[in-house]
Each structure stands twice: as structure tokens, then as C-alpha cells.
Subunit: 414 residues, 4 copies
Amino acid sequence: MGAVQETIVLTGHIIDSLILAKVLDTILMMGGTFDLEQVSIGKTRKESSRARIVVRAGSAKLLSDILRAIQPHGATVEGESDCQLRPAPSDGVFPDDFYTTTHLPTQIRLKGEWIDVERIEMDLGIVVDQKTSRVRAVPMAGVSRGDAVVIGRGGIRVTPLQRPKERDVFSFMEAQVSAERPHGHIISDVAKRMQTLRDGHLIGKPGCKVLLAGGPAIIHAGGREALTWLIDEGFIQVVFCGNALAAHDMEADLYGTSLGYGLSAGRALPHGHEHHLRTINRIRGIGSIDKAVETGVIKEGIMASCIRRRVQIVMAGTIRDDGPLPGVITDSVQAQAAMRAAIPGVGLALLVASTLHAVATGNLLPATIPAVCVDVNPAVPTKLADRGSFQAVGLVMDAASFLRDLARELGWRG
Amino acid sequence: MGAVQETIVLTGHIIDSLILAKVLDTILMMGGTFDLEQVSIGKTRKESSRARIVVRAGSAKLLSDILRAIQPHGATVEGESDCQLRPAPSDGVFPDDFYTTTHLPTQIRLKGEWIDVERIEMDLGIVVDQKTSRVRAVPMAGVSRGDAVVIGRGGIRVTPLQRPKERDVFSFMEAQVSAERPHGHIISDVAKRMQTLRDGHLIGKPGCKVLLAGGPAIIHAGGREALTWLIDEGFIQVVFCGNALAAHDMEADLYGTSLGYGLSAGRALPHGHEHHLRTINRIRGIGSIDKAVETGVIKEGIMASCIRRRVQIVMAGTIRDDGPLPGVITDSVQAQAAMRAAIPGVGLALLVASTLHAVATGNLLPATIPAVCVDVNPAVPTKLADRGSFQAVGLVMDAASFLRDLARELGWRG
Amino acid sequence: MGAVQETIVLTGHIIDSLILAKVLDTILMMGGTFDLEQVSIGKTRKESSRARIVVRAGSAKLLSDILRAIQPHGATVEGESDCQLRPAPSDGVFPDDFYTTTHLPTQIRLKGEWIDVERIEMDLGIVVDQKTSRVRAVPMAGVSRGDAVVIGRGGIRVTPLQRPKERDVFSFMEAQVSAERPHGHIISDVAKRMQTLRDGHLIGKPGCKVLLAGGPAIIHAGGREALTWLIDEGFIQVVFCGNALAAHDMEADLYGTSLGYGLSAGRALPHGHEHHLRTINRIRGIGSIDKAVETGVIKEGIMASCIRRRVQIVMAGTIRDDGPLPGVITDSVQAQAAMRAAIPGVGLALLVASTLHAVATGNLLPATIPAVCVDVNPAVPTKLADRGSFQAVGLVMDAASFLRDLARELGWRG
Amino acid sequence: MGAVQETIVLTGHIIDSLILAKVLDTILMMGGTFDLEQVSIGKTRKESSRARIVVRAGSAKLLSDILRAIQPHGATVEGESDCQLRPAPSDGVFPDDFYTTTHLPTQIRLKGEWIDVERIEMDLGIVVDQKTSRVRAVPMAGVSRGDAVVIGRGGIRVTPLQRPKERDVFSFMEAQVSAERPHGHIISDVAKRMQTLRDGHLIGKPGCKVLLAGGPAIIHAGGREALTWLIDEGFIQVVFCGNALAAHDMEADLYGTSLGYGLSAGRALPHGHEHHLRTINRIRGIGSIDKAVETGVIKEGIMASCIRRRVQIVMAGTIRDDGPLPGVITDSVQAQAAMRAAIPGVGLALLVASTLHAVATGNLLPATIPAVCVDVNPAVPTKLADRGSFQAVGLVMDAASFLRDLARELGWRG
């Protein structure tokens, strides 16, 4: 044991943000050992702390694994040098040993200087534009042959999240997924954020968009009016959805049904799925959802309000789709790119009743953007938490009840 | 094949209530065969139909199994004789081959006359009081040595449920358990029933009580105010619950928390479970919930409103309980008996967020009483449907959202 | 009431297959009335029955809705004429009032003759090739301008499913979704089917392929070896999956992990998600999964066995994907078309641990192909049952336990 | 802010067990502030650390809440004095402000000496026998008038759990509830523990009993043979269950069915619930399960093996029960007491497919006893984790698959 070693440094609120503890714990859990060379702890909440730790492991491979594992907690190797770059061997392929990103704020060292990585997101590579010295996180499919890609672990610095100053539900930094916890005040905290963000957005403050990624259960279960109201009132700026949500929303407008359930009759109409198909066929005939709204064919609902309020919609296709509707991006790589392009400026994400959209959006969000994941199935928030989406709060309740309660909290009279 | 046979008769709306079809299907599925001797079908909706069917099976045992299986559909053996009686061999034990009840309206033939079985319920025996000729369904633990118990299958007639005339959600006679179906109109139909039942109850009409059987998630998730309002407004006459619901309700009154979640703060107070225990200890010190309400220690909430409105409460104990509170019936046989005694007069059952109470109550309800089963976990309504609770409607949503929507539908301004 | 009427005819095993009962029930439930003009019932199981029914409704719209609703039960309007055709107005758009298919065997009447609709599937349109008189079910995106599309409801005949002759789990024709029902014999019946189908497939009998549509939980939960064995032994001919299953399978081969869980260590490796990305990057570098297997980079597992056994793989992309792997069809319309093309010849579908693939595949399957849907979340089989997938059996258990038990039943010694 | 303050001391592995971090975090989260007066950190894994912390809060109430919240992490107030005692005001009632226990090892200071609290368990009070100076955790219902009960927070010391030395699944000290994590190695670790415990138990080593608390889904889903084998082989010493598990087990022996599902036929027998009732009636007639086994009426299964192997069974009644069987403890307070009495000596708890028994047993277990909670519904392990059962590992899989895999791992050939 202890054949190889490396000295790392931690600085910041490493005590009260659990960072030092997690680093030491991870080292031991993975089978390494450590010596604490020096620890100076800030005596008050404001002072920052600093620790110098010698990490030892039985093999170079294990040491490397440990350093990798503790890096997201901000551990940087002492005597840090520049990061290493290697050209991508072909389009869409990173060099071996490419550095894979976390969704935490990240910097790389180039010519002695620490430079922020733009568009940070989980599970990407880092590409350096050597002319401009700008550095970006890039998805695998987005790299071009010859691009300078960061490899290895040296010269990379990750800043762990600090506990946010606002003392609301997001400050707990842990997914809450129990169905037995009270919802009211989580929803109330979310509503307060949305109020603040809308105020900020109205005066052009950046980072004040609210993103809703949702599934068709929003319509089935009766959340359509509430969501429409939230859009009308300017609480939502970006919508990610699939073909089904859009089609059911417009089916409700054209036929008063959703997947064959008469929304005003409350019961299944035999073969009501037909309405769903006729809706899609009709919009295909018209050519676009925009035109269907402009010409008055579609009068009300989520789509109509999005178009009228110029809310950005990204509709991604899946193999479950009928049709699909015009405007659905059927290519998943293109759809992901469109979603990615819509993230900057988002300050809060609501992930409602869609495992696919919740996880896909969760993957694209930097850790600094708070997210609420709502699903009647507790497995969905758990899945998100497993991926390490730090500021995600899970709510086990049905989509309609969530949206209705949220809208009421913001002034809806439904 | 066809070694033994028996002729049965079916009468009533056997076509449009699926009864004939189900009987023939069951015979074939179980390995028997049949000849339709005579079928006269009512030509309009009002006329009743009649079928005479020869059932054949390869063995007397199989024939007996088939006859047993089709009996709940109203199949009676032609040339029916009186039912057979045998004395119970000891207290709490039925004779071998005792007839086990369904939860459908049932009659037995005694001295040539068909007599209604009182207090019908699933999985009981039938006891005849030979002096008064009154006939009752009796639980195993309730039979006394020497009681005349119905055995075998002869001389027993079960009336299958007809589709109810009201065209609301209960008329579908099938559990709906999908989280993807609309809730709004199911809740609206339930609310209409409750309005009608309250009106009936106020003028002393029998069968107009509403029973709520619920679990503590009602409090945790934020449904306490809505349920309290429903009780205050006279919409609920009987409450079945456990120690936890009562304790959390009174904890909310005394401390503003539920299981350590500050209901007004929306977040976990470390070790807030303490409040739960202090609440129980305090009520134990006072001696009863009634006294705690009368003396003003407990001011508001479900328990306070139940006591003020003279709503009947049956609290049943479990091995999970802290305390328990005074008034909790810790013996499960006694608690079941108390629940059973409270069923007559109930016209609608709401089974909310408690698997234990939902299934236990479902077992006690005659098939003629409609029930709504609400749980965020789809397995609970499914479990109820598996037991064959005919008029049960399942709703996959959280308890608080259900109660709040229901109360709003009935006029609550919360 | 009764302003408009139509006479319909039902023939076949309309009594014991519940068909007559369901038709009459549907008429009443939807608000119509009926007169049974003539009913001749086959006296034994083999004789077929026939009913002539006058259906009455208060409006032409309601009558049309009722006729539509009872058509899947085989109800044909007396004095049936040819079906009506209308040209598609543009590419990818059906004419208004196009007939939307069920997944039941369907015929249309052309020039007095009944012609089978090929490639039947739920929610498509019907296109007639007027030169060859061949008739096909076609997805919306697949219709070309001017194609002759069936509209309205006349001249279309649907054959309801008969109860299958084999007396195994599929003969119940109803989704079983309870976690509390025994699994052993369902799995045993599935295994028997798979044995029979493999025997058939080996001698070139048509309709003997087995399709597995699965999600990555198969790998995470430990079902990889069992599924690999099933493929090696020739029990599976078609695999539908996504990028994740393929990547995790090959990650397990290259790194011994799945999503960062060391499969041989049983615990989370911090940031093990990296292995997932490196696996994808490596295969992208090699160019294809085929080449990775041929060159010996990928040695064992699901992908390796599929390629060696020439099992057809359709990998469909989603917005959750990293990479994706070469071979993943990123366009959802193209992926759906590839899945659709792989359905003919399938005699059994196993839908395991993937809501997306289970529902997408369920949508493409004719009602005559039995399917087993396995998921630890009871909502998935319920969702499938809601869509009316008749011969689907639901099993609430984890993917790995299912595949391991199934493989053991077929001779695996794992 | 900072109006009141108190100095606390932490010692032990407070860094790598996250203890210091959690304490500081809790202080800040609850609205207090702190100064780190002195921190000496052990430089290697073996050396222990020590911190002296001044905690400040805006009010005495808040300071008290904070001290309460950090006490389970081992924080003791400097200059600690004896604990305070007050007599119980009446039978079954603690004095106001009684100290409520955690499930962690606890000591109280009496006359300057620290004394271990025996039979520690969550949510009890602490009673001092003033003659013997023995100290016990006592449930509310178990206290007698005049008993000396610990009140307040002073003079009480709680030892937080250290990370266990064995590097198996329990050493992670966190509930794992995702259905998407691998099961194989968790089960393998559990099997290894069971092997070690059986070896220990055979040579009379204390703390080597294995407790299984289970629900009837074990039988329905097909886990009966595996569990019977585990009992026969001496892997289980204590069984907690309800009436249903016992009745279904014996029904399977007498009739080959479970809740009407033919275990050898794999399908529902109409009205098979009858077998369940006949089984219970028969055992009631015989008088006891013991006698039914001894007389050869019940030949095989869980109950038979328990009785033959002298495994201790505690059967607790609920309001769902039919019968119940003789031997079922129908009083919940008595049943809880019987369960409590069976806990000492247990070294591992398997909580399988029963929310009620899992939570009830979880409440009774000291934090030092590792537990595995298996349920197909992820909410059950989550519920347990919410209560703070530290060494509990959650497994989302069906009961039968778990028991069969576990038994196979231990040598079963089923």
C-alpha cells in the first residue's frame, strides 16, 4: 500500500460544505490512504479554509482513479501545470483519454492561466480554440477532426457547488423523493423563484428564463389550463416536449378529448385515439403549428399560448410518435443540439411527468441551475438524483396537481 | 369428457351485463363444456332474458368447481332445493365445507323460501338463527359452537350487480388505475355523489353516510385543511384511520409540523419526529382525544372537527404505532368488528393513501357500495381490483391533491 | 331517442368470446338502444352463432360513433357496400375522415370482394394500390400524394380475436399486472413458447421469430449473461434497443462496469460514467459495432452474440443518448420504419425494462402476436394494456430476475 | 444574532465519517453560527480527531433545537453535568420534556459516570432503575407511574456510527433504492454475511441471529421453496410475519394455491380465495399451527420448517386478516412487545415485501444492526431511509427473485 502518492490542495468552504469530509471519505472508500499535511480552518462562516492532503494508493491506476473521483470536489493537484491537448482523430471522435466533464463550473490551465470552460454540461469533452483561446464543452458528435481536445486530468479545476444563500427548498442540495413529504411549501418556494425570475426577465436580466420539460400526462391528468395560464402570464420562456404533448394539447382544443378520454365527459370514448391521429393529420395538412394558430384552427392551449407569447418550443421525436407533427425534430442528435442551444439564460427548470425529457434535460443542465422534477413515479426523481444533478428537488405527485397548485400559488383562479 | 352434468338457469339482464358471456367463458376456461338448451333474449333494454344451460365436466370435482365459479354470476342449479346447514364444531370454527360468501347480494333457500342474507361481506360464513329465521353473514371469529352454518353450494342464490342507472364514473364497474387518465371528472362525479348523499343524510335518508378511510400521508402531503373542511361541512360521517393519522393531525395543531416536516416551513426539522411523540404523550396524559378537544388543547384539524361534528371515528392499531393514542383499538379482531359495525348506512367509501385501511375496508364493503381508492402508488388500486371490489374506481394521485380538488369542487376556498 | 338506426350483423363465437355481450354493452353505455332482431346460438362449442341487431341513436353523429366503437368486435353493417377511397391531398397527409386502423385482422370490400389489409397495425391509414388491388396499412408519414386512402367506416370488416386454443398464459387475453401474482408459471409458459418457436424457426417455419425489445436496466440489474445465453442458443432473432443498452453491454465487456457500477464489485465507482463515454468513443473510432466484434475489441455479451448469431438489431436514438454509437438510427421516423420492417415473421415479443421501447413496439405489433411486458414499475404494463394490446401479459418484476429465470427454464446453468 | 451560545466538543473519526461537516452544516442550516475554537485532525486513518465549537443562536429555543439536532452526531456540551430525571406522572405517560431516543448507541451521565442505555431503539424514553442503576430505553406504553425518566438534553451522549470495517455493501451507510443498480453483488454480500452469521450461531456466538420480516407476496410470487430451504439450512432464526403469509404458506401445502392462484397451474382459479379461508378454518379447528405440523396435516413449507427447526415466529394481526390463525397476536401493543423481545441477538435483518413489517421492524432495530429492505415498490426502502435507518440497504426487486437468488448463492439447487 502507498506505493504511489500525490499531494492535493482544497480551498474554500471545505468544512461546512462537506467538501473536505467527502474527499477524505472517497479516498478511504476507494482503498487509498491519506495524510493531512496542513489544515487551516476558517473560524467563522465567511473565512475560507484550506487543506493540503497527501493521497497514497497501491497502484498508479488506483491513484489516478482516486484523483479523478475527488476532482469534482475541487481537489487540485499541487504544482499544477497546464492541461494537455491532443487533436481529435476524426470527426465525432475524441482522442483516447479525453477528459470527460462534470456539470460543475470548470476551468482549464492554458499557458499558466486559468480559463473558464463555456457551455459546461455533464459527459462532454473540452475543446480549445487555439486562435481565440476560448474553451468550450463539446458533445462527442460535435467534435471535428483536428480539434484540440483536453486529455488526462492535469490542469483542470472544478469548483464544487457552495450552498446557495437563499434559504429555500433548493438550498438543501439533495433530491427529496418521498411521496410522504409535504408538497405545499416546495411548490411555494418554486413559485417565489418563478415570480423573481419573471420580474428579472421583464427587465432584461440574464439567467431569468424558466424552462418546462413535460410529457403528455400533463394533458391527460388535467394540467392543461394551468400550464396555459403560466405561459400566458409570462412565467415560462422555454418548453421542451415531444410530439405527444403537442398533439394532445391541440386534440383537446379541436375535439375536447385527450387520448380518447373526453376531458369534459371524464370517461373513455371507445376508439378516441382516432382524435389524436386526426389532429396530427390536420396540422400536417396545414403545414405548421404556427399556421394552425395564426389561422385560428387552434384557438387555445399550451401550443397556442407558446406561439402567441413567443415561447421557444423544442419538440423532439421518438419512436412512439404518430405522425409526427410538423416542427418535431425527428433526429435525436439535432433535437439534443436544439435543446442545448436553448439552455443558456435558463435560471430554473421544471421537469414534469416525462422520464425521457426529465433525464435528457437533466443531462444538459449545468449544476448551477436549480431543477424541480415532478413525477407520480418515484423512480424518475431517483434516476435524476443518481446522475448527480445537484440542485434537483424531486416531488412525487401527479403532473396536473403540481401545475394547478403552482399556478394557484402565482395567482391563477382555476 | 362430459361424465357428469348439471342444468343451470340464468335470468335477468344476462346479455348486456355480460353475464351469459362470462358464464359460458368460465365453463370453457375451466375445462368444461356446455349446451345451450334454451335462450330467450329480451328484445329491448327493459325485457329480461333467460338461458338454460347444461354444464358438463370430466369429474364431479371439476363440475363442482365450475358451479362454484359461475354462482357469483347468478347461475342457480335447476330444481334447486333448500340449503344445507350444519352446526359449528366449536367457537370460532366453521364446519368443514362451509359456504364462503361473496360480497354480492345473496339469498339462501330455507323451507322452500328464499331469504336475504344480512350484513353480506366477502369471505364470511352464513349463519341461520333457527328461531327467527334471520340469516346473517358472520366472520369466522364470530361463530359460536352449535350455530347453524350453511354448507355446500345448493340452495344459495347470488345476484350479480347490474350496471347502475346513474351514468357517472361508477357505472363503468371496473377499476381505473392508470396515472395517465384524467382525474378532474372522476373527482367531479365523486363530488356530485357526496352532495347528493349529504342532502339525503340531512333529511334522514338511509344509506347516505360517506366513509373516509385514510392514512397519514393525508397530513404529510398537505391535505389536512381540505379534509377538515369536508368534515366541518358535513360531507363525511365515518372515519377509519390509524394512530398515525390522528397523531400527525394533532401534532400539526400543537407544533405546526408533521413527522418533523415543518408544515409552515416546508423543510425537515432535524429530529422533528420528537413532536409526534410529545403529541401522543400529551394526549395520553389528558386521557382521551375527546377531552383534549373539549379542554381546548387541540383546537383545529381532522380530529377536532370529527369530535365537534360527532363523526364516528374507528382508529385501529398496528405494530408500527408509537404510543398509541387513547382510543386506538389495539386488538385487530375488535377493530375489525368496530369497522364492520360502522358500515351499515354507508353509501360511498373514500379510501385514501393507506394500503392497509383501503384493503381492510374494501374487504368489509358489500359490492353494492361504490368506493374510490386514491393512492400515488398504482399497486394499491390494483390490489383492490384483484380482490374483486366491483364498484371501486382507482385514482393514481397523491392524497393531498385529491382531497383539495374534491373540497374545491364542493365549495372550499383553500 | 331512436331518430336514426342501422342494422348490424355479428357472426362467429360471439357468445363465449364475450363479443355479443360487449357489443350490446357498448351500445347502451354510449347512449344508444338496440333490438335483437334475430339470435341463433350455436348449441355446442364448435357451432358458430349469429345475431342481427338494430342499433338506434338520437343523432347521426352518435350512431356513427357507436358503429365505429363496435366495429372492432366484428360488427358489420348489413347490406354492406364497397369501402370508399379518396386520394391523399399531399405527401404525408391523409384525406380528412381517413379510416384509422385497429391492430386486429382487417378486410376491406373492393368491387364486391373482401381483401385482407396487409401489415396491419394500430393507428395507421389504409392505402389501396389500384393496379395490383393490394391493400396495406400505411403510417401517416408514409402516404404519398394521390394514394388511394380508405375513408369513412363502410366496407371495412374487423375480425375480433378468438380465444387461442393453447391453454397457456396468453389465452387469458388480458394484461396481468399485479406484483402479487405468481411469476413462475408465466415464465414457464413463455419458455415453452420460445422452445416451440425455436424449433419452428430452425426448420424454416414462418412466424417463429422472437423479438426482444429492452432497456439498459437489463445490464445494470445483472441480466446480461442470461440474455447473451438466450441469443447464443438461438432463442431470439430480433433485438430492438437504444444506444444505452448497447453501450452498457460493451462497457461491461471493456471495463467490467455498467453506468459506473462495478459489476464485479457491486458498488458505485465515483465517476464511472466515464467508462460509458469511453466505450462509445472507442466504437465510434473503430467505425461500427460489427467491426469492433470482428476485430476482437468486443469479445462477449449481447452485442457480440447478436452479431455472431446474425440476430437483427434495430437501435433507435433518443435525446438522452451520449455519442451515439455507430449504427444507432437517430431519426425517429426512420427508426420506426426499421422496427416496422422487422416485425413480419415475429411470433412472440418480449418487452423488457424499457417504457419507450415497450410502448413503441406494442404500437407496431398486430393483435395476433403475443407479447410479454416485464417491468418493475407496474405503470408500464398498465400503459400497454390501456392501448388495447390484447395478447399482452404484464409481469411486475425486475428485468434481470426475469431473464435469468427464463434462461434457467430453457437450460441455462447460470 | 448570537444572543446565546454553548460550547460543544466532538471527538473520534469526525473528519472521514463526515461528522464534523454534518454538525457545522446543521448549525448553519438551522440558522445558527459557529466558531471553530480548536480543531486537531488525526493525520492518519487511525488517529482520532477532536473539535471544539462555539455554537451561537438568536434565541435560547433555537440554540436548544440546534443542540438537539447535532446530538446524534456525537456532539456533547462541554462541562457536561448529570442528566436530569423526573418521575412518570402516570402509567403509560412520560413526563413533559422527556428525552426521545435515537437508535444510536446512547449513554447517560449519572453521578458523574457514563452508563450505557440498554435496549436502545428509536423514539422511546429512557428509564433509570435507581436501585440497580441500570438504564433502559422504554416504550411509552411500558412506563409505570413514578419511574425515573430522563428529561431535557443534558447528560446524554450519543455515539454516531463509524463506517464499518468490512468493505461490503453495508459499509456505504446509505439506502440504495434505485431499480437500476446491480443486485447481484448486493445479494452476494448479504449471503456472505448470512454464512458468517450461521457459522457464528452454530458455535453459540451472540449477535448472530438472522431475522426475516416478510409479507405474503413471498408466497404469491414464488419464493416459498427458497425461503423454506433457507430456514431448513439454519440461515434464519427469527421470523416476523402476519396472518396472511402463514395462511398462504399452509394453503400452498394443503391446496397447491395461493390467494386462488394455482401455484402449479399458474393461473387464477375463480374464487380460489376460498382455499385461504378453509386453510385458516382448518388450523383453527386443530387448535394451533404447531399441532397441525406435528400431526402431519401441514407437511412442508415455511411454517412447517420454522416449527421443526425451532425458529421463533412472531405473527402480528391486522385489520385485513381473515380468521385469524391461532398464534396470531391480535393486540398490536403485545405484538410489538413480542417483536421487541425477539430483537436482542439479531445480527442481520431481511425486510421482504411488507411495508408494514419492514417499517415496524425498522423502528425496533438499533442502528448498529444492518438491514436489507427488499420491495418491488421503491417507496418502501425510501420510507425506511426517511426514518434514518442507517445501515439499511434497499433493493427494488420482487420478493421471490430476491429469495431465490439469495438461496442459490448459499447453495440451493432450485
